[in-house]
Amino acid sequence: MKRFVLLLVFAFLPVLSLAADEKSGEPVTDYFPADYPEAPSVRPEGQGIVKYAEDGDSKGNFGRHPVHDNQLFATFKTDRFEHQWKEHGVEVFLWDVQGWIGEDYNKLYLKSEGEVLLEDSHPVEEADLELLYSRALSKFWDVQFGFRQDFRPRPQRTFAALGIQGLAPYWFEVDATAYLSEDGDLSAAVEAEYEIMLTQRLHVIPRLEMGLSLQDVPEYEQWQGITDLTLGARLRYQISRKLAPYVGLTWHRKIGETGHNLKKVGDDIDTLGAVVGVKLWF
């Protein structure tokens, strides 16, 4: 029964939204009030209304657009692209890059994040690729959904992704996404960044990352609750807007049930690292 009701609601949603759209689109005739008097006929006799704009609607008169407010842009940037020196001599290279193509409302995002352990045995620790459709939702927020493919750790996994990305009040850049794995496991990742301007070109960027899991997934070392937390601070110098090298610190900790369980088996759940990297965009 419940299912049936839900189905009914979903079936009618498009109809409802269509009706709402009908309401919000103002008919052109509303520009003049109904009781507005006819235009005074002061034009000379015999001179009718001049012909204009008859070869198209006002947005494409004469086969031209006067302005181009739906331009397609494409860009690519490295948020983090860095070498990390962690405790106990562990060295890691980390990338966190994204690119998009689109216009004001609709964008196609490609994001990738990963870590390479700079040692011989298992070079790639983590690597994922996300393909997301992004739709402008409100003034400062985009809703994004699509797929994520984890290439590492193995075995590979595919996720459905649904999230929001945007600018929170007080200038926090936020990216929060929920992931549903092919095995039905639900997890989430939240990232937030802030920019403190020391000078016009020298900025400090505090950064917070958090992982969450809705159930235990021991094979991927995740247990229910908040799984891990990364705090970082980077000191970035903008040589130009598109080239900004940085140095910084990053601290990562497995917490909650995850931390507890990993500690039990003797894993190092708490690492501090120094980073050197560059933010680039094209």
Binding site: E26, V42, N61, P66, Y105, L198, T199
Partner: protein, 590 residues
């Protein structure tokens, strides 16, 4: 200095100097005669004609020794001086020699013409395809200082503009000895498309005057911790920056005066005791300027080509596309600096008014970049006293719309003031901010002005010199809201980009219309209406005529309009990139 001296110097310039400049500098500097330094004003130039041939093509431009490619007219930036006579039937043949573009065009800014002569591709003609010539023909029914520019893509940014002056048929209204055109503009070696892309990807791309941690600490020392935090949090909550004054700044621009950089120092000559007419034209793509001549009073005698009752000022703000004619009377035998600071103080255009070539006067320092107060955008109540800001409602009469009053100030014309703006789901992405109580600000000189101890022109100071042509009681009222979302670089009217509007704004032929413009953004927008005058309702007994009105943040202005020509007309923000990003609409006069 004696008159004889001046004659002999003048003869020297004309004989030796101009030969040198023509032969030597002209080769390196593609500047038209009127824009070159050290000439003696327009009286030495050819008088008005009724036919011009203009060719828009790629031409070299040299700024401070660096060469770039411009889309000049007849090979120069700015283009040739188009000088016409009131009452004449004129023919202006414009050829598009930009062979790789879709089209080019020339719009005669502020000139009343039949709509097919207005020159806006996609609104009232198809544009000029490469290799073709379009003949603009119209009869001039006005006189004064105007300009012309391309209305195709971003060609205006790369140099497709020039001055247009129309000699009155009955002689000038006041006497003067010298006559100069002063075209202010902004040049970037970056491609205009790059400027647009960068701003779309990062709204503050060119702003290197943002507020830093140091500013925060200084403000705490000055105003106390609580006040500073409240102010920062109010802006932060809106996700707006109070120092977002210009999108493209001196970081990308070299500001030009008659095509000369500040170092190139365009020089106008005068003899002490003369009255000099300076026709300031802001032909910039994106830069509003504050103009002054330290040591000289300026009598503003024309605004947007129309005579106004003279006002003596020491400084005026000139929005993009506006023109002001001023008379100056230098008595001393010394040079004076013509100084035009960009509104965000990131650079300046500069020239010299000098009794002889080669002299310079001290160049003032740039003033400090101002910070917008919350009250400047009509959001004063955001700090602390939230509840007080909610008041002012209950004017009634707006059936359905609202509790928020807009007519608290008797200086705002009309029985009810502007219609309030209620963004809906459709406009939610476009509109980052709405101003519940827009303010009357015509008596304010603008942000960063008026605190220097000298008189700055305000819109309230303008009174037309012409006898009233139309009734001052409107038959109809209409409100257009200026809206934007800077973070997404989306600019719009009534919360809709150009392509999102359901249809054009409708004006009735020969009606008397009151148009309210309400600025719901953080920036000053020069709003331009093609094909008809806007008479600014500034309380003057004779309302001044404007083709472009610079609307301040949080401000409501109103203008009385009589649409005298049927057709489709462009209505847009004259900041080129705002227009291109959607702050554009068609006005259909039916």
């Amino acid at each position: 200095m004696s008159q004889g001296n001046y004659v002999s110097r003048r003869r020297f310039i004309q004989g030796v100097g101009s030969a040198f400049f023509l032969a030597g500098l002209q080769a390196a500097l593609p500047l038209p005669l009127w824009a070159r330094a050290n000439h003696w004003g327009l009286d030495g130039l050819p008088s008005a004609r009724d036919r011009y041939d203009l060719t828009i093509g790629y031409s070299p431009i040299v700024i401070d020794g660096r060469e770039g490619t411009a889309t000049g007219i007849n090979g120069t930036v700015p283009g040739p001086l188009v000088r016409l006579r009131e009452g004449d039937e004129v023919t202006l043949n414009v050829t598009n020699a930009l062979m790789d573009t879709e089209h080019s065009s020339i719009h005669w800014h502020g000139i009343l013409v039949p709509f097919p002569m207005d020159g806006v591709p996609g609104v009232n003609f198809a544009g000029i395809p490469p290799g073709e010539t379009y003949s603009y023909r119209y009869k001039l029914v006005q006189s004064g200082t105007y300009w012309y520019h391309s209305h195709s893509f971003l060609q205006e940014q790369s140099g497709t503009y020039g001055p247009l002056i129309i000699d009155p048929k009955d002689g000038e209204p006041w006497p003067y000895d010298r006559d100069y055109v002063v075209v202010l503009s902004d040049w970037s070696f970056e491609k205009p498309e790059t400027l647009f892309r960068n701003l779309n990807l990062l709204g503050h791309y060119y702003n290197y005057q943002q507020r830093t941690l140091g500013d925060f600490i200084r403000d705490i020392r000055q105003d106390g911790f609580k006040e500073t935090m409240d102010e920062r949090l109010a802006w932060g909550k809106m996700r707006m920056s109070p120092v977002d004054l210009a999108d493209v700044t001196g970081a990308a621009y070299t500001y030009l005066m008659n095509g000369n950089s500040p170092d190139m120092n365009w020089t106008a000559l005068f003899a002490p005791g003369e009255t000099v007419r300076l026709r300031f034209i802001n032909a910039s793509a994106m830069s509003n300027f504050d103009v002054r001549i330290p040591g000289l009073d300026m009598d503003v005698v024309m605004a947007d080509g129309k005579a106004v009752r003279p006002v003596t000022v020491q400084e005026f703000r000139i929005g993009v596309a506006e023109t002001y004619d001023v008379l100056v009377r230098p008595r001393e035998d010394r040079p004076f600096t013509l100084f035009a600071e960009s509104i965000d103080r990131s650079g300046y255009a500069r020239g010299t008014l000098s009794p002889e070539p080669g002299l310079t006067a001290p160049v003032p320092l740039l003033r400090k970049r101002p910070v917008r107060g919350l009250q400047d955008i009509g959001m004063g109540m955001m700090v602390g006293e939230m509840n007080e800001g909610e008041m002012g409602g209950g004017h009634g009469g707006h059936g359905g719309h609202g509790e928020m009053g807009t007519k608290d100030d008797p200086r705002i014309p009309g029985p009810n003031g502007p219609e309030p703006f209620m963004p809906d789901r459709k406009t939610s992405v476009n509109v980052a901010m709405t101003i519940p109580n827009p303010r009357y600000r015509l008596d304010e000189p603008g942000l960063g002005l008026g605190h220097d101890g000298w008189k700055v022109l305000t819109y309230k100071d303008l009174t037309s010199e012409e006898p009233p042509e139309y009734a001052d009681t409107p038959e109809r009222e209409m409100t257009i809201h200026i809206t934007a979302n800077m973070e997404r670089y989306m600019f719009s009217f009534d919360g809709m980009k150009y392509t999102e509007h359901p249809g054009p704004y409708l004006f009735r032929h020969n009606e008397r219309l009151r148009l309210f413009l309400v600025n719901h953004t953080m920036m000053d927008h020069p709003i331009h209406l093609h094909g008809m005058w806007m008479q600014l309702e500034n309380g003057a007994d004779r309302l001044p005529y404007k083709h472009t009105i610079l609307v301040k943040p949080g401000e409501v202005v109103s203008a009385l309009i009589t649409p005298i020509e049927k057709g489709d007309w462009a209505f847009h923000c004259h900041l080129l990139l705002h227009m291109e990003a959607g702050m554009f609409q068609v006005v259909r006069v039916v």
